[in-house]
């Protein structure tokens, strides 16, 4: 009923230790939509994210515990290799997705980009193109597909959610046109073995996960250690202030969408080689798994918060959980979808639990205090201040 009273300037004479920032932020009212995540100071959030990554480590141990408990074969080279092949491609795509979510955008077309690239690979290979030329074409295709997303978002100004839902369908449709109902599966031996053998000397480690590790280090350094990475956080937290500081926000976003297109195109080839074939419906539904991994990794859906290490841990929690559940015969792929959906919601919900708890406490307190007002004669004790509230 009453319009929301804006939270205005802090008048606290001295800054407050970051650790205690847990309640109302002293900053300006959050932009419309009440970005729950933006209600926390970075210090507090940083503390929470660290806890989030610790929680992921615990979850990882727990998941592997379940797996070992379910079957003695869980830690076998064969099972670990399967786990790796299942998660590696998704995990690689999660890296550019992390950067895109960091700046407050999303790319839902990743799996369709993967599919269109894989189908293009199949088409060109079946028409006798040399593999080197195909690489070049597929990379160029990735650039184009990413640029289409980027242009629609940055130049036309459409929301990336809508744009990439559109290209999700569009690219998938094109992919189906390229190869039709055909299946191509006569790739040469070294490529076909990518999905069969692990990295030499480490038989449990798939090539995809090895590539993921290398890329994760690069992405981690870029995101956490370079001016470019810092500008991504700035854009995600406040893109207006970022552009006032000379950051070219549209160009950065454009670059990220192209990066995502190229990475997904390359993963499309890798995935085709791992399967040793390209057919219809390749990689269908991958986009949601990729986003689940990113959000589970602690990257805020509102942008501006998250770490690469969190995403790396999340990839293995996700893959490990899948493997652990499937290895016990009582679970099937469909059951895992239920778990996966639940995880997605949890990973968006849990970081905001302190906020919800705060609101609930506030509500209780108001109700209690109202009870006091009813009897004004009794000397009314002041309700206890909300714990950790800072303004």
């Amino acid at each position: 009923m009453a319009p929301e009273i804006p939270i205005e300037a802090t008048e606290a004479a001295q800054p407050v230790p970051a650790g205690s920032v847990a309640g109302e932020p002293p900053g300006a009212p959050p932009p419309e939509g009440g970005r729950a995540a933006a209600r926390f100071g970075l210090g507090g959030v940083f503390g929470r994210l660290v806890r989030w990554e610790v929680a992921l480590c615990v979850a990882l141990v727990f998941v592997f515990g379940i797996g070992v408990d379910a079957s003695g074969d869980f830690l076998s080279n064969y099972n670990l290799f399967t786990l790796c092949t299942n998660i590696g491609d998704l995990a690689i795509m999660a890296l550019p997705m992390t950067l895109i979510v960091m700046v407050g955008e999303i790319d839902l077309s990743v799996a369709s980009t993967l599919a269109l690239s894989a189908e293009t690979l199949g088409y060109l290979w079946s028409h006798g193109w040399p593999m080197a030329a195909i690489f070049v074409v597929v990379i160029a295709l990735g650039v184009v597909l990413g640029a289409i997303n980027g242009l629609l978002v940055t130049k036309v100004g459409l929301p990336s959610l809508a744009v990439t839902i559109g290209t999700l369908t569009l690219y998938r449709g094109l992919a189906n046109v390229v190869l039709g109902p055909l299946t191509v599966s006569d790739f040469p031996a070294p490529f076909n073995e990518l999905g069969v053998n692990g990295v030499p000397g480490l038989p449990f480690l798939s090539w995809s996960v090895a590539i993921f590790f290398v890329l994760a280090v690069i992405f981690g350094v870029v995101l956490h250690g370079t001016p470019f990475g810092r500008s991504l956080y700035a854009i995600g937290l406040n893109k207006e202030a970022a552009s006032h500081a000379g950051i070219r926000v549209p160009r950065v976003k454009m670059g990220l969408f192209i990066l995502s297109g190229v990475v997904c195109a390359l993963v499309g080839m890798l995935y085709a080689f791992e399967l040793s074939s390209v057919g219809e419906n390749i990689g269908i539904g991958f986009e949601l798994m990729v986003i689940t991994v990113v959000l589970l990794g602690g990257v805020s859906i509102f942008g501006g918060r998250g770490t690469i290490i969190g995403v790396v841990l999340a990839a293995f929690v996700y893959g490990g959980l899948r493997s652990a559940l499937l290895i016990s015969s009582s679970f099937n792929e469909n059951d895992f979808q239920i778990v996966s959906g639940g995880l997605l919601i949890l990973s968006v919900l849990v970081p905001n639990v302190p906020l919800f708890a705060e609101r609930a406490r506030e509500l209780m307190r108001r109700r209690a205090a109202r009870g006091i007002i009813v009897s004004p004669e009794s000397s009314s004790p002041t309700p206890p201040p909300t714990q950790g509230m800072v303004t």
Binding site: M1, E11, A28, G43, V45, L237, G246, T382, V390, T391
Partner: protein, 553 residues
């Protein structure tokens, strides 16, 4: 003559019998206590009880004591000023009135001496307390009348909203306030001043007897301030108690009868304004004397920033001016005259249709701030929370944000280098912080502004554009910012300052350009500028002898 409608009387606290107040013109005279006989509350000025008091309120947030034993008495028909530096505890006190915060100890007491417990904004409203914020939040798609009566719309049979009654009542409210605001206008597109009027109308509509105004004038132009004063006067004449918060002492003296000064969460002074001078207040606020700054004339160098025939359809037209090295040029004018828009276009935040911006001999790329920055331009924007700072980033990250390239080695940022860079600049600007790794939200407004300045000065710019550099910051920091701008100009920096505070313009600027409705209409040298002349040019009241050097005729 205005007449109070059937709405009832705001001076009537307990709801016992309605006394209609008839009152004369709004433009009441001097700032003495009300001289009416029509309500008993107002008649016995001496011994009347306060309509609302805070007694010995203490409020701490963690280790920070925002308020310590602060008492304040609000009287019906009186405008009470609350002043103090940023961080003195004003906002906390406002939030206690608004039910947003509850004091750790101490209490709110109503006119009958009963303790009031406010546990939320709804309670405050029930208790007859209305808070008018600097920038109100209305529902943009609803009409003015709907905003006033939101949630309490007059009903017809069957629960339907009686739009006619709502409009009539809203119109009556605005007439009572002396502002002809059309109740059917959508809230979208209302100026901030008009939005405040709507909020005040809403306060009247539920018979608020205490109206708290938190820096209402900070974002208003001079004419809007004058109109707001008329409204405050009428609130007062109708027997409401007004708590008026402002950083501008001349406003305090113009409209208030009593003043309370807070410093570091404590009350240092509370008395009738008639007994005080502006100097007394400043001393009370800062706890020391501020020496009047004398600006010595010095020679300006070559033109560094040159804006030539800049034009943007519907926003500004034919804007040409130079800023020379070592010179402070102020861009004065009313809010909405296009000053900020010119500055934003020059820096590259916004695009423009035609014209050129040059720094030295280098033409700046349109719409590209990084190009202006590389040419040596810095821009301190108007809205430090939205544009100047990434509030959730640390103080370090904010100071280094515009210098990241320079702070990296082989493309990598070195945390220790960044930290020492930030703490060095924070120290130069005397930013007061607890921990430099804390987010910018942990700072008071004045210190936030210093962080923005640190961010830009650390780039050692040749040109600095500052848009309302002292808006909403305390007197002491304001003086520091002025001194800083003067020092910068002495060291050869070209300074372009946009300010709506004429005393500031006159104190700091070497040359004053005046804009009106998107055009440059006058230019004054420091020696022959006065508030009157600038205002006349800005409002177009007089035929100003246009003395533009670079006017394209």
């Amino acid at each position: 003559m205005r007449e109070v409608s059937e709405q009832g009387d705001p001076t009537n606290p307990g709801g016992q019998g309605s006394q209609n107040v008839e009152r004369g013109r709004l433009a009441g005279g001097a700032a003495d206590s009300p001289s009416t006989a029509s309500t008993q509350l107002l008649s016995q000025t001496g011994a009347r009880p306060p309509i609302l008091s805070v007694r010995e309120a203490t409020k701490a947030f963690g280790a920070v004591h925002a308020l310590e034993g602060v008492s304040i008495d609000l009287y019906a028909g009186e405008v009470h000023a609350l002043v103090g530096e940023n961080g003195a505890g004003k906002s906390t006190l406002v939030k206690i009135f608004g039910g947003v915060h509850q004091p750790d100890s101490g209490e709110l007491v109503d006119a009958d001496g009963h303790a009031l417990v406010l546990t939320g904004p709804a309670d405050a409203r029930e208790a007859g307390i209305a808070i008018i914020f600097q920038e109100p939040t209305l529902f943009p798609d609803l009409s003015v009348a709907e905003n006033v009566f939101i949630g309490r719309q007059p009903r017809r049979s069957g629960g339907r909203i009686d739009h006619r009654a709502m409009r009539r009542q809203a119109r009556a409210l605005f007439e009572r306030l002396g502002v002809p605001l059309d109740p059917d206008r959508p809230a979208r597109g209302l100026s901030i001043a008009e939005q405040q009027i709507v909020e005040i109308g809403k306060a009247l509509s539920f018979d608020a007897k205490v109206v708290v105004m938190d820096e209402p004038t900070a974002a208003l132009s001079a004419t809007e301030v004058a109109r707001l004063f008329g409204v405050v006067q009428s609130l007062r004449d109708h027997g409401a108690a007004v708590l008026f918060i402002s950083h501008r002492l001349e406003e305090v003296f113009a409209i208030c009868q009593r003043v309370t000064v807070l410093r570091d969460g404590r009350r240092v002074l509370s008395q009738l304004l008639g007994e005080l001078t502006a100097g007394d207040l400043v001393r009370a606020m800062v706890g020391r004397d501020i020496a009047a700054r004398e600006r010595t004339q010095h020679d300006a160098g070559a033109a560094v920033l040159r804006v030539a025939e800049l034009q943007r359809a519907g926003i500004f037209k034919d804007i040409s001016f130079d800023v020379r090295a070592g010179e402070i040029v102020a861009l004065a004018g009313l809010v909405g005259a296009g000053r900020s828009e010119v500055a934003r276009a020059a820096f590259g935040i916004d695009v423009y249709d035609s014209g050129r911006v040059l720094v030295g001999e280098r033409a700046l790329h349109k719409g590209r701030p990084i190009d202006a920055m590389r040419a040596g331009v810095a821009f301190v924007p108007e809205d430090r929370r939205q544009q100047g700072l990434v509030m959730d980033m640390s103080i370090i990250d904010n100071i280094s944000l515009a210098s990241l390239r320079r702070l990296s080695r082989h493309g990598l940022l070195i945390p220790s280098v960044e930290r020492s860079f930030a703490s060095d600049w924070a120290a130069r600007l005397q930013v007061k912080y607890g921990n430099i790794a804390n987010p910018a939200t942990s700072l008071s407004g004045g210190n936030q502004q210093k962080v923005v300045l640190a961010k830009w000065l650390s780039r050692e710019p040749a040109v600095i554009i500052v848009d309302e550099p002292t808006r909403g910051i305390d007197v002491a920091t304001k003086a520091e910012v002025h001194r800083l701008l003067v020092e910068l100009s002495r060291s050869g920096v070209a300074v372009l300052m946009i300010s709506s505070e004429l005393p500031e313009v006159l104190a700091v600027a070497d040359r004053i350009l005046v804009m009106r409705e998107g055009r440059l209409v006058a230019e004054f040298a420091r020696a022959n500028a006065s508030e009157e002349r600038i205002m006349a040019a800005a409002t177009g009241q007089a035929d100003v002898p246009v003395a533009l050097e670079s006017s394209p005729a």
